[in-house]
């Protein structure tokens, strides 16, 4: 989730009220933003991804001001017609939508320019899904000639000077030479042509999704009027982005102008800041919230969140992207009401509890084992091939993770004894005998399962001591099976982790459920241990299924 830094003085001016520090902290948290830090000069907040309209100082202050009751209700923005056009060519099929606007009467200072850059980046990261869904650009209006064309071109045939570079280069070099080209070339994977904005005098304004041109795209303190473009793969998304940007600029004192966007099949005028309407069902609101709010109370609460309420309908500001359903209005009503004001209550609702039967079974097994003096251990489900296979002298088929950050944990465990060996290995300096067990999930391929991966719960026991031997581990197994009144047999078997002739396969009702034996000295040495180790691994899922039949 994006974090933004806000100048406290500017914020207070925008809000129109100064709150004491403690009150400020409290109100920010209850507005639905995560307060990270606040001091005399700065407020640092985390904005939830459903509220991109709060990513700017202006947007955040706007929401805060109405929340604390200073400037409530739907904020009106006046949009004038510019009379200019943007022509969309059908060649931009890889990024077919654009929305544009002009804002005049701006009075930028250093900080505002930084702020504009910040919101462009943060908005593109969240709302624009890291520029894949949408990206945005601002240009000083006085360098641009209308009409503007939005069109796709072969980058080999375009030359321009990208913003931040010293000279003109071929557009095909941008992905190599420009930092944004390198960062976002994944967005353009598979593109043969790239979308460009080109002005009336054939000047390249920008190459998407990367960078503005130096010639037309450099906003600075002298800029009083800007042209804004949003492009992307989803029309609704670029409309919302434009609304968020222009309302922010209007809150900085700017005047918004619309343009006609001429698509091959239709013409739209952007930005459109008319509020959407949504019906409010008072009964539904009160049922969900467990309150008894009257219509005028709901009106007041909606106004606290920047909405208007008329004729049983909420008027939704054009910069709100998160109101999909009436339930979203209900949350805003709850926030305005104050989460701290809800009185928690437990309904008199009789239901019968039930613990999962297999969970009970596992617990009983674990209790029996701890009664025998064994200590339960707790390990990760992730491991690595070396521990699961090489150090155990075996070769198993493992489920691998696609993208683990750590090479120590890049597979799912196929068995549990290696985890116990690791624990013994890291406890060499502690008192012996060491008797440990664990119950954990193991993973193996199985096309019959829904995920094509089978998960079993397995018990593993390991004993390390001078005197441990097959008899000792066998006695534990025997006691366990006697305690749960289960007959079993053991047949001789081979297993590379165990000593030949001292390893058995445990069979219950014809099903193989466990290995049991003495760990081979080679494996013991692999783990840098110097004590004899005996171990067993028992498939509890299999065992439980067998006895439940």
């Amino acid at each position: 989730m994006p974090t933004i830094k806000i100048n406290k003085k500017v914020f207070e001016k925008l809000v129109g009220k100064k709150l004491p520090l403690e009150k400020l902290k409290d109100r920010i948290s209850y507005l639905g933003t995560d307060l990270e830090d606040v001091n005399e000069n700065e407020i640092v907040v985390e904005i939830f991804p459903n509220r991109p309209d709060m990513l700017s100082e202006e947007g955040f202050a706007r929401a805060f001001s109405s929340f604390i009751g200073v400037k409530t209700g739907l904020k009106k923005y006046n949009v004038k017609k510019s009379g200019h056009k943007v022509i969309v060519d059908k060649s931009v099929s890889m990024r077919p939508y654009t929305t544009c606007a002009i804002v005049k009467n701006l009075n930028f200072n250093d900080e505002m320019i930084r702020e504009i850059m910040q919101i462009q980046e943060k908005l593109a990261l969240t709302h624009g899904r890291n520029r894949k869904k949408s990206a945005y650009g601002l240009y000083p209006l006085n360098n641009i000639n209308f009409p503007i064309r939005y069109t796709a071109k072969d980058p080999n045939e375009v030359k321009f000077r990208p913003l931040g570079l010293e000279k003109e280069i071929s557009a095909v070099k941008v992905e190599e030479l420009h930092p944004k080209g390198r960062e976002f070339k994944w967005v353009a994977e598979g593109w043969k042509k790239y979308p460009f904005f080109i002005d009336g005098k054939e000047n390249i304004m920008c190459m998407l999704p990367y960078t503005n041109s130096h010639h037309t795209g450099k906003v600075d303190e002298t800029t009083k009027e800007v042209f804004i473009e949003c492009t992307g793969t989803d029309l609704e998304n670029v409309k919302q982005a434009l609304n968020i940007i222009v309302t922010m600029l209007a809150d900085m004192g700017g005047q918004i102008y619309s343009l006609d966007i001429i698509y091959p099949s239709k013409t739209i005028t952007t930005p459109n800041l008319n509020p959407e309407e949504m019906k409010v069902d008072i009964g539904y609101v009160n049922k969900i919230l467990g309150l008894d709010l009257k219509e005028n109370q709901i009106k007041t609460l909606l106004e606290r969140m920047g909405f208007d309420y008329k004729n049983k309908k909420a008027l939704i500001p054009a910069y709100r992207t998160d109101i999909l359903h009436q339930i979203d209005l209900i949350e805003d009503i709850a926030i305005a009401y104050g989460y701290e004001n809800f009185i928690p209550s437990i309904p008199n609702l009789s239901t019968i509890s039930a613990e999962d039967k297999f969970e009970i079974f596992k617990n009983k097994i674990a209790d029996l084992l701890s009664g025998m003096g064994l200590i339960e251990t707790c390990s990760y489900h992730l491991s690595n091939k070396e521990q699961q296979c090489s150090m155990m002298n075996t070769n198993l088929s493992l489920i691998e993770l696609e993208n683990s950050i750590s090479s120590d944990y890049n597979i799912l465990k196929a068995w549990n004894i290696p985890s116990l060996m690791e624990i013994l290995s890291s406890n060499k300096h502690h008192e012996y005998p060491q008797k440990i067990f664990t119950i954990g999930t193991i993973f193996k391929k199985n096309p019959k399962s829904e995920t094509n991966i089978e998960e079993d719960e397995r018990l593993a026991i390991a004993i390390a001591s001078e005197k441990t031997d097959y008899t000792e581990i066998r006695q534990i197994l025997d006691y366990l099976f006697r305690s749960i009144n289960l007959k079993y047999e053991i047949t001789e078997t081979e297993h590379d982790s165990f000593i030949t002739g001292r390893v058995g396969r445990v069979i219950v009702n014809g099903k193989n459920v466990a290995y049991i034996g003495e760990i081979s000295p080679q494996v013991i040495t692999n783990w840098e241990l110097e004590m004899p180790v005996t171990a067993l691994e028992l498939n509890l899922t299999e065992l439980f299924n067998t006895i439940s039949k």
Binding site: Q326, S353, I405
Partner: protein, 510 residues
């Protein structure tokens, strides 16, 4: 009376040591006379001191001991003696060297010593010619007093030497590796007033039984003897038993709470298709949580199977246009392939989604819970792990509302030991309204985030249940609560499995 009681409680070691204390207070001497090992004497003295029978005083003392050459000369004689014996007839220095085992250094030292004593005469002709004097002969007859000194019993305190011996010690000290001074701890045990009274009594060990044995019981021997009393307040060595891991203990407790509140347990897979982890929970297919940096994907079993078509279509239309819920949906083309991707569950809410999809009408209202391991693709450090425990709950109740949600959560955390819980607005893709739960930690005097909750969105319940019933849902993390209880500061310690720590760790006593 007092004294009798003390005598009755004396340990066999104490019984051996105590009578000796009348004769000596020296630790060494006690060990010698009782024929006990030094550790045994030490233990006995310690116990006796604890009972105020003796007072043990330790002081540091300088003791003289023989060094390497000292030991050699004690056994083989001093080099100057050998030298002088060989000088009985005039002899060259080289010849003495050949006929003795003396080193060059020993030769020159002997030469110096004997010359200063006037025991030899030195002439320089044909090399160095040496002959014994009358004084020398005298010395040979009387013997060297240094040799007598070396034969004393070492180590020995300087204060034990007479003046002559002191002089010899000083002269030997100047020579190489003959004597050395060591700092030695001298232990003395003096009887206290009680001790003196005690030793005046007869301390009998024959009529005292130390350990009760089967044969003593059978023979009836115990009838005529006294069983020694113990110091019941004494410290004993630690032992430890088998036990459940502390995570299991805590999980058992939290399960108990949900069960007490009438919840049924849900269990299910850890590897799960994206359908159940994300899509069924109205998380758009381009949502950042579904990217590689947050979620573990599977390399060699990349895809799972989707459930029945009706359910898949309901979820698909919820995403694309809100289906029949009146929602706008996310307005994009929902793809099967994305939903089939296997992931390690990022929350246990996949279990809730499965439960809702399989719920019969007759089972409403009902309440379910789960406690389980979840995963996120994160590097490990003191406050981050790639595995964590979550406790999940859902309430399916046509009359459920937001205040009930807060009520259930408050009650759960109260039972977990947090008297104060507060709720703040939050955002989750699949709940609305959403809540962040903070609990107040009295020790740290601050609010700690414990995780999220909310009412499932209509897009979720309609697709899974087939109708729009309010479903309260929560999934707070569990590890922080546990770390607080056990006072663990580093998350990695949860899975460290240090056996000493596990053996000695406090038990979950709630």
């Amino acid at each position: 009376m007092e004294v009798d009681k003390i005598i009755a409680a004396l340990h066999p070691l104490e019984r051996k040591v105590l009578p000796i204390l009348r004769e000596t207070s020296s630790f060494e001497k006690i060990a010698e006379l009782t024929k006990l090992q030094k550790v045994e004497v030490m233990r006995a003295l310690q116990w006796l001191q604890n009972k105020k029978i003796i007072s043990v005083k330790q002081k540091l003392q300088e003791k003289i001991d023989l060094d390497e050459n000292g030991l050699k000369y004690r056994d083989k004689g001093l080099p100057e003696k050998t030298f002088l014996q060989l000088s009985n007839k005039p002899i060259t220095l080289d010849e003495i060297g050949k006929r003795s085992n003396l080193s060059k250094q020993e030769l020159s030292i002997s030469l110096g010593i004997l010359k200063s004593k006037g025991a030899i005469e030195i002439k320089k002709e044909r090399g160095i010619l040496i002959s014994i004097t009358n004084a020398g002969k005298n010395i040979l007859n009387k013997g060297f007093p240094e040799e007598d000194f070396l034969k004393k019993k070492f180590p020995i305190g300087i204060f034990e030497l007479n003046n002559e011996e002191k002089r010899i010690f000083e002269s030997l000290k100047k020579r190489k590796n003959i004597v050395k001074l060591n700092i030695i701890k001298i232990i003395n045990a003096e009887l206290t007033e009680i001790g003196k009274k005690l030793t005046a009594q007869k301390i009998d060990s024959k009529n005292i039984i130390d350990r009760l044995t089967p044969s003593i019981i059978q023979s009836g021997e115990w009838k005529n003897k006294k069983l020694r009393s113990y110091d019941v307040a004494i410290n004993v060595p630690n032992i430890s038993g088998g036990k459940r891991h502390f995570v299991s203990q805590a999980i058992q407790y939290s399960k108990r709470i949900w069960l007490d509140m009438g919840f049924k347990e849900m269990t299910g897979p850890i590897v799960e298709s994206s359908f159940w982890v994300f899509d069924a929970l109205f998380t758009a297919q381009d949502h950042p949580v579904r990217e590689m940096q947050d979620t573990f994907f599977i390399k060699n079993q990349k895809y799972g199977k989707l459930p029945e078509k009706k359910l898949v279509n309901a979820v698909k239309s919820a995403h694309e246009n809100g289906g029949s819920t009146g929602s706008k949906g996310w307005q994009y083309n929902w793809k099967n392939e994305e939903a089939m991707k296997n992931v390690l569950r990022t929350h246990t809410t996949n279990l809730s989604a499965r439960t809702l999809a399989g719920l019969k009408k007759s089972e409403i209202p009902s309440k379910f819970f789960a406690v389980g391991r979840c995963f996120r693709n994160e590097a490990i450090d003191w406050s981050h792990l790639f595995e964590f425990n979550q406790t999940e709950g859902i309430v399916i109740d046509p009359n459920a509302n937001f205040r009930h949600l807060l009520g259930y959560l408050k009650e759960f955390f109260r039972r977990m030991g947090f008297e104060k819980a507060r709720f703040r607005p939050a955002y989750f893709a699949y709940t609305e309204p959403s809540v962040e739960i903070d609990a107040f930690y009295p020790v740290h005097k601050k609010w700690i985030e414990l995780g999220g909750a909310g009412i499932l969105r209509p897009e979720v319940t309609k697709a899974l249940l087939g109708e729009e019933i309010p479903v309260l849902a929560w999934g707070p993390g569990f590890d922080r609560v546990m770390m607080d209880y056990y006072d663990i500061n580093d998350m990695r310690d949860i899975y460290k499995n240090d056996l000493k720590q596990l053996r000695e760790m406090e038990y979950w006593m709630k």
